[in-house]
């Protein structure tokens, strides 16, 4: 083929090159409990998967990549993010290869590979390193508070004298800036990977304005349907029995609780910020009530997942990687300590309020600053992958009809 009269474009030749990573399987197995070496390629998992659709089949395709050591394929296929782990593939696998747990492991692998400077490796390769990486920012924070806290007033509760509001805001801005840049960098790496998989753009026939319209529409649709309502999660339902289906429904609502609880807390923080910085003229009670309710909702959701992972009575919870625990613990304690701050504040317990405030800030800032590198990263990667896949599919469909 290479001796044809028309020379191949250089870029394509490099794309053709396939790199085999003989350690891929070992790397994946370190992050999950599964036995895909037992796979005999019957395709049962793909055919039973409620989210598998023509053109985006999973999970057997990824199992094949893993067995062949095609690490670039694993990282660059959006199907990693299309799985919500209902577990029906695992319960019906004739080889008990546990494809569901494999998909989770592939997702962990993708998070590592899509992070800039491979920072996420620190949160996935070893427990010790992960704990160290997690404690970096809280320790810095502790140092700052130790050196620059205000007067400790004990006869009344005055948080903002103890820790100046300005300090929190400045720290918050730094964290948000770091977070924003990391998210952008990681999503860019993911975009590049996904583009490599898609190959040459099939959209040449579709006008630029139409393409832009499709991409914008997909963004809005995914934002509403998949981020806010998470409709695919409801489709991801092990329908093998009614009991299984019911479990899937609980899992969906627990996930919604964590998501909306977190969103509510972010909203409460923003309102508070608005009141303090820009003189937003709303009652501070709104942000307080929103914060308390959201915090409780998020804790209930996180507690459900912690309970399931301890009990190990569902396919998704039979195995837990330490990254799963870290994410849940940060979420739960972030919520709990926030709740404590509010409780102590109303109870007028000054010292307890200050201590829990410091702990609360450590947990919640840590949760945010490590977001792009921990399990939390799925909150950015998944919608992004869904957006790209949806838009590309629609563009290529439009290209076919015109």
């Amino acid at each position: 083929m290479a001796t044809g009269s028309t020379p191949r474009p250089r870029r394509k030749v490099t794309e053709m090159a396939v790199q085999v990573d003989s350690h891929l399987m070992t790397d994946l197995k370190k992050m999950g409990a599964f036995d895909i070496s037992a796979c005999y390629n019957c395709g049962n998992c793909t055919a039973i998967c409620p989210l598998s659709v023509e053109g985006h089949e999973l999970p057997r395709k990824l199992i094949r990549y893993a067995i062949l050591g095609l690490k670039d394929k694993i990282v660059s296929c959006p199907e990693v993010w299309l799985c919500y782990f209902c577990g029906e593939c695992s319960t019906s696998c004739p080889r008990t290869a546990d494809p569901g747990q494999f998909m989770m492991s592939a997702r962990r692998y993708a998070i590592r590979r899509c992070s800039f400077g491979r920072v996420a490796d620190a949160f996935y390769s070893s427990k010790l390193l992960s704990l160290l990486a997690l404690s970096v920012f809280p320790l810095i924070l502790l140092g700052i508070f130790a050196t620059s806290h205000g007067p400790i007033i004990t006869d009344e509760v005055d948080m903002w004298s103890f820790i100046p509001m300005d300090l929190i805001h400045e720290l918050g801005l730094i964290v948000m800036a770091f977070l924003g840049l990391s998210v952008l960098a990681n999503l860019f790496i993911m975009y590049r990977n996904l583009s490599r998989a898609a190959g040459a753009a099939p959209s040449a026939k579709v006008k630029l304005t139409r393409r832009a319209g499709i991409w914008l529409k997909a963004l809005i649709t995914i934002g509403i349907v998949e981020v806010l309502a998470q409709r695919r999660f409801t489709k991801c339902d092990d329908n093998s029995s009614e009991a299984q289906s019911k479990k899937g429904t609980y899992k969906y609502w627990a996930h919604m609780a964590v998501f909306w609880g977190f969103l509510g807390l972010a909203g409460a923080t923003l309102i508070d910020y608005g009141i303090n910085e820009y003189g937003l003229t709303v009652s501070r009670d709104i942000s307080r009530v929103l914060g308390i309710v959201s915090g409780i909702v998020m804790m209930i959701g996180a507690a459900y997942f912690i309970y399931k992972r301890v009990k190990k009575d569902e396919v998704f919870s039979t195995f837990s990687h330490f990254s799963d625990w870290i994410f849940l613990i940060l979420l739960f304690f972030g919520g709990l300590t926030g709740f404590m701050v509010t409780s102590f504040l109303y109870a007028g317990m000054a010292e307890a309020t200050y201590i829990s405030l410091v702990i609360h800030l450590m947990f919640s800032f840590d949760l945010l600053i490590t977001l792009p590198f921990t399990k939390f990263a799925h909150a950015m990667y998944r919608p992004f992958a869904l957006w790209i896949v949806t838009a590309r599919d629609q563009v290529s469909a439009a290209g076919k009809t015109t």
């Binding site: 005999y40 390629n41 019957c42 395709g43 049962n44 793909t46 055919a47 039973i48 598998s52 659709v53 023509e54 089949e57 057997r60 395709k61 094949r64 319960t91 019906s92 696998c93 004739p94 080889r95 008990t96 093998s240």
Partner: protein, 458 residues
């Protein structure tokens, strides 16, 4: 057939005088008959015990054998006749071995329970008048529930011994059979008989049991009428078939497209059967060929994980079937859904076409059910342990060298009691176990007389 008598405990049974035999063969299928005939021909006294009302096992139900397409009942029926009429073979049908106690080398005391037929077997002439008189119709086990039988019935045309029996579970006690019987052989008061025998060796040819397709709920067997098992298709294709044409159960339509789902209950951890049943690929291919003859316009698709055509002439048979136009699709069927008109939708991943998620529609679906170990045979040995493998097949201490030997000296096993296999291999092992038993008996004789014996039975 699984017709349990209403009284089947030792308590209500009659004890008969003790009999003596050289060997007890447990199981009267193609393998057990082979062992019994070989030993009988060599002059040994054989006791053949069969739990069903007739000997013959499974083979007489089948249409043709693979890969030669020989008529199955034309091979098994003469063999059944030879066995039933052999002067050295004593047959106990509709009987189960309850215990076998080894009291020394070449000395087993066995107790066999003969279930009541509620018909005097010696007097019955198999005239069928009771069958005609009986007003009760129930699904026929022989025809895989595709046709009916009476509560007073002869199991099937070529049954041996050919005697009527009464299925008391479905009997309405109307007495019509009793009035119709010209020899007065109906006896509702019959009780189980307990036979005690002393045998010098035992051959276990207890066979297999078919996988119950209901254990795979995503295939909806027993719920969707047009999902049938391969054994039911064997009946449709057999010369003694229940219907004159191949029709699907729901509406009697002649199917225009038939799908085979392979590995139902085989190579499947979810039903705890990790092994290959060894015959399903080939019998499905055989049925596909026969269907192309019976329904020349029908499309036939076989959905498989791997085609295992390993025996003599098997690969050629597979290639030939492919060339005849059967569509072989690599991909395990994950689930089946029924459409409004009774057609069925099959969901699978089309592995050989880029792993595309696919579904297909068929008029009739045949589940190629696998084979599993029979009922627990180890339990009859009260003093010794009959070793089984984790699945439940009888395990030889020397599988490569002496596959028919078991963990109990003097007890031999053959056929599908050891593991899944096809008809010729089962027959081979029947002969093999017979020769092992003969060697055992002669060795005992030599030890006893202390002399070198030239040959011949004691």
């Amino acid at each position: 057939m699984n017709i349990e008598p209403s009284i089947h405990e030792f308590g209500g049974s009659k004890e008969l005088p003790e009999e003596r035999h050289d060997v007890m063969v447990v199981g009267g299928g193609i393998c057990g008959m082979q062992a019994a005939l070989d030993m009988g021909d060599m002059g040994f006294k054989v006791l053949l015990v069969e739990k069903e009302p007739s000997i013959g096992g499974v083979m007489y139900k089948l249409s043709k054998t693979f890969p030669t397409l020989d008529c199955s009942s034309c091979i098994s029926t003469p063999r059944m006749a030879s066995t039933a009429h052999h002067k050295n073979i004593t047959m106990l049908t509709y009987s189960e071995v309850k215990e076998a106690i080894k009291e020394g080398e070449g000395n087993f005391r066995v107790r066999i329970l003969e279930k009541p037929r509620y018909v005097d077997s010696a007097a019955c002439t198999a005239c069928s008048l009771c069958e005609k008189a009986c007003p009760v119709i129930v699904p026929s086990e022989y025809d895989g529930n595709l046709s009916g039988r009476k509560a007073a019935f002869i199991p099937f045309d070529t049954a041996l011994p050919k005697v009527a029996m009464i299925d008391l579970d479905n009997c309405i006690y109307c007495g019509a059979c009793e009035r119709a019987c010209p020899v007065g052989c109906i006896d509702f008061l019959q009780t189980p008989k307990l036979h005690t025998a002393r045998v010098r060796s035992v051959i276990l040819a207890t066979g297999f049991r078919l996988f119950d397709a209901k254990l795979k709920p995503t295939y909806h067997y027993g719920e969707y009428p047009n999902v049938i098992t391969s054994m039911q298709m064997e009946r449709y294709l057999s010369p003694t078939r229940p219907t004159h044409a191949i029709v699907r159960p729901s509406d009697g339509k002649e199917p225009g497209s038939i799908a085979y789902v392979l590995c139902v209950g085989s190579r499947d951890d979810t039903v705890k059967n990790p092994y290959c049943s060894q015959v399903c690929c080939m019998y499905s291919i055989k049925q596909a060929q026969l269907l192309m003859g019976a329904l020349p316009l029908a499309d036939i698709a076989i959905y498989y994980i791997d085609i295992r055509a390993f025996g003599k002439g098997f690969e050629e048979f597979y290639v030939q079937t492919k060339a005849m136009g059967v569509n072989f699709v690599k991909g395990k069927i994950a689930k089946i859904e029924q459409q409004e008109n009774g057609d069925l939708t099959l969901f699978y991943e089309d592995i050989e076409n880029g792993g595309r998620l696919s579904k297909s529609s068929h008029d009739l679906v045949v589940l190629a059910v696998g084979i599993m170990p029979g009922k627990d045979v180890a339990g009859i040995f009260k003093n010794d342990e009959l070793k089984l493998d984790p699945i439940g097949w009888i395990k030889s201490p020397d599988e490569a060298g002496s596959p028919m030997v078991t963990s109990i000296r003097g007890v031999f096993a053959a056929g599908t009691a050891i593991g899944p296999k096809d008809i010729p291999d089962s027959a081979v092992e029947g002969s093999g176990a017979a020769i092992d038993a003969v060697a055992y008996l002669w060795t005992l004789d030599r030890e006893r007389t202390g002399a070198e014996k030239k040959g011949g039975p004691s």
